[in-house]
């Protein structure tokens, strides 16, 4: 979490932003904001906002310590967020959310104004991943809310804790197709863990608290509260209670003891056991338990992509991650194991490849906090529903008796470990760096990894660069790899780096981006510059939406339809235009120095690394294919 001293700095800088910014004379700002979002309906609101804005600085200057009593729904929302322990909020202003923003004016919350609502959702999502508690994003009704949708869907797919607050037209206008009205609750229903239409100023603060608690509890995920303007401005003196879960919601803790014993016996009788560590291990803070269990019994570990960092990648037992672009040795191990202990994974198709050929000899022990994940994609022979850490502790306790019962011991696993080590030697992760070809992206990733401290947070967009970053960076800790896995959202990298840096100002944050991904959300640089966030963006630029190009070459007879981007801007100059540091990288000899210069720059820096446009991501399991049949090059597909 953010140290107290840092917090104070942040608050100060934001107050300075609000009051010291030459353009942010409150009157001008209010007018501009409204003008930008509402046209006809704006007039009345503008006057209202102007009056309030002129009055507020007087009371607000005393600081957040003597916080005013709740007078409106908006005040209740602010108090609910404070009560939930929220420190930062990411958002964009707009007509229907204005009262809620006004409620933040006197609060202790630090608001980070983003350039686009999608960025607000991704930043909050990354903030939630780094801290483990829900990130909060805010947007107005209509386009503000719909711009959040991609980020909410992203959080839903990756079970990231996120609370979205959206403005809505006044209740009496709802259903009339009013200006900037969208059925936000309807639109986000399938992509939220739960969502709410607030209908009462009296209870709105409690609703926000419940949504926050739900986002955090059990299997984490995004929640949303839609806030009609009349509910936000409506009078109430109700001080919200501390966040409470809905009355029917229970989070499973320990798994059924008998099932645990059976699972332990399955492991004890196995000859080729393997642990599959998923994102749920990070979410459940179960990495220590998992490490203990694996090392205690000498069981090799593969991770899923979201599970990267749950087990140190430089550990002898670690086979890195399995799946479409996972290592050859991870895919061999997962294809040959006879007992798979899968923890906190939903067996995504990018991991399993074809269901028929996934771990086909394995008895599956599935540990998950969400009962609905049990046997959804892969049948669980031993379903263990509960908290990852608690269940791993239970299993650890049951292993001794299980070995006795099976008349075996974990020494029997030695031959299997040896086999896994052989696969590591047989299918090494490597790439050629010939002199007559342009810079290889993997080399840039490795060079950056060597230069950075091991608690560095790495974020990414989606595509080839994401795969290279996850393949060639050595991750050692949970919550150091922040990416868009399930949804595969291009443009996730920069806003998530912003969210990560706000969450962890003392840690280094590196964003590997692709040229295509960076182009989608590069407006976020303005935010990074304004907030002076010391992040380093490395654009692995191959002038193409490279993963698509790779697939076209492999599966569409090299018909490169709409995948090549020879029209890109100069990203170094673009960065400079935003007020960030811009650097260009082309040669192997410059890699170390250029990356170092970017890292040392105090503020956001962008390295435009011109990489070999012909480079592809391998190994690769064809979509729906057999993991053991991963291709090492295109001709093997």
């Amino acid at each position: 979490m953010v140290p107290v001293s840092e917090r104070t700095d942040q608050v100060t800088s934001t107050e300075a932003d609000a009051e010291g910014d030459p353009a942010a004379n409150p009157e001008t700002e209010a007018t501009e904001t409204d003008g930008g979002t509402t046209s006809e309906a704006g007039a009345g609101t503008t006057t209202e906002a102007r009056v309030e804005a002129e009055l507020e600085p007087e009371t607000g200057a005393d600081g957040p310590s003597d916080r005013p009593a709740v007078e409106t729904g908006a005040g209740s929302i602010a108090h609910a967020l404070e009560g939930a322990g929220v420190e930062h909020v990411f958002g964009v202003q707009g007509g229907a959310i204005m009262p809620v923003y006004d409620g933040l004016y006197d609060s202790a919350l630090t608001h980070v104004t983003m350039a686009h609502e999608q960025g607000a959702a991704h930043a909050a999502d990354a903030y939630g991943q780094v801290t483990g508690t829900p990130g909060v994003c805010m947007a107005t009704s209509g386009p503000g809310a719909t711009n959040l949708v991609t980020g909410i869907a992203d959080a839903d797919m990756d079970s990231d804790p996120l609370l979205a607050l959206t403005g809505q037209v006044p209740t009496s206008f709802v259903g009339n197709d009013a200006f900037q009205e969208t059925d936000t609750v309807g639109v986000t229903r399938p992509i939220t863990k739960a969502n709410y239409f607030a209908d009462d100023s009296e209870t709105v603060g409690d609703t926000v608290g419940e949504a926050f608690a739900l986002a955090e509890a059990g299997r984490q995920g995004p929640t949303l509260v839609d806030l009609p303007k009349d509910v936000s401005v409506g009078e109430t003196d109700h001080e919200p209670d501390s966040p409470e879960l809905p009355q029917y919601y229970e989070v499973p803790e320990e798994a059924d003891a008998a099932a645990v014993e059976e699972a332990a016996r399955a492991l004890a009788s196995a000859e080729q056991p393997l642990i599959l560590s998923g994102g749920g291990v990070t979410k459940g803070e179960a990495s220590p338990e998992l490490r203990d269990f694996a090392t205690e019994h000498g069981i090799p570990v593969v991770t899923t992509m979201p599970g990267i960092g749950t087990f140190p990648e430089d550990h002898d037992l670690c086979l890195s991650w399995a799946g479409m672009h996972g290592t050859g040795y991870a895919n061999m191990a997962i294809s040959h194991t006879d007992c798979l202990l899968a923890v906190g994974t939903r067996f995504d198709d990018r991991l399993t490849g074809g269901i028929e050929t996934f771990a086909p000899d394995a008895e599956v022990i599935h540990v998950d906090v969400d009962p609905a994940e049990i046997s959804k994609n892969i049948h669980a022979d031993h379903p263990l529903v509960g908290d990852a850490g608690a269940v791993l502790d239970q299993l650890a306790g049951a292993m001794g008796d299980a070995f006795d019962a099976e008349d075996s011991s974990s020494e029997a696993y030695a031959a299997w470990r040896e086999r896994c080590t052989e696969w590591k030697a047989e299918y090494p992760m490597d790439y050629p760096t010939p002199d007559d070809a342009p810079l290889k992206p993997q080399f840039v990733v490795e060079a950056m990894c060597e230069a950075c401290p091991e608690d560095t947070i790495v974020t990414s967009g989606v595509g080839q660069h994401q795969m290279w970053a996850s393949q060639y960076w050595t991750f050692r800790h949970p919550r150091t790899w922040i990416s868009s896995h399930g949804l595969g959202t291009m443009g996730y990298g920069l806003p998530s780096a912003i969210g990560a840096k706000v969450a962890a100002p003392d840690r280094e944050v590196v964003c590997f981006d692709g040229d295509g991904s960076f182009l989608m959300t590069s407006q976020g640089l303005s935010v990074a510059v304004r907030e002076n966030l010391d992040i380093t963006v490395v654009v692995l630029n191959n002038e193409a939406i490279g993963m698509v190009r790779q697939w076209q070459d492999a599966f569409f007879e090299r018909r490169r339809m709409a995948s090549e981007y020879p029209w890109l801007p100069d990203f170094a100059k673009l960065a400079e235009a935003f007020g960030a540091k811009g650097l260009t990288l082309q040669e192997y000899d410059d890699v170390a120095d250029t990356l170092q210069e970017a890292r040392e720059y105090d503020g956001p820096a962008v390295v435009d690394a011109h990489i070999d446009p012909a480079e592809n991501v391998y190994p690769m399991v064809a979509s729906g294919g057999d993991n053991a049949q991963f291709a090492l090059s295109e001709d093997q597909l």
């Binding site: 809905p246 028929e356 049948h379 050629p432 760096t433 002199d435 192997y588 053991a628 291709a631 090492l632």
Partner: protein
Amino acid sequence: MSSDSNDNDGGDADRGAGSQQEGRHEQGLEGPRPEERERPQGRRSSQGIRIDPQAEASYVPRRTAISALVANDPGVLATVTGLVSRRQFNIESLTVGPTTNPETSRITLVIEEPDPGIRQVEKQLEKLIPVISVRELGSDAIQRELVICKVHGEEPEKVQAITEMYDGRTLDAGPRTITVEIIGDEGKIDDAIDAYRQFGIRELARTGGTALARGEEWTTDAEEERYERLVNGTRTGAGTGTESRTNGAADD
């Protein structure tokens, strides 16, 4: 890493060590080609169940009723139907109506799925926040459905005969149309409609199935808990419907 160093890049390059030039690679990915690799023997079915290659079997779909007790909140029906359509559950009918508790409604779904699919429907429903309690009803559950059928009125005696055969009622009779209602399980309704076809059916409306568990058995756990609480008077405060969610251990 690389053993055969032809270039002047300096052969045994251990990545991570020394200068940039020493960190350069030559080899690239290597290892046996896919067809040269050892392969596992087993297989899974399309439902992800490990199967014996000798004895392939997979679950066949069956028709069943699932009862869900849900909070009486706006949007619950949309949440449930959205789930059903998004996850492509094969649904035959869905009915919804109030219960003895004003804070809850009952949704009855008749679905046709193989067993793993039925378990998924239950668990995915259970996971929805406004859903309080879910259960698959046994084959002995009491299931009823209503149809209103409007047939041509040329042969009123014959229509009446069939209506009596199916324990139905005539709701409206005019010179040109006769409207009847039949109540029963799905099969009975299907049969009755078949029988009316000879007269020519102008229009019909079916409700879809609704159901309760038979005898003393409770339809969902939450209702049992609530009943116990009301009967024993251990209820505190004014709040009804404070049943606890029962999604603890996986049921398979």
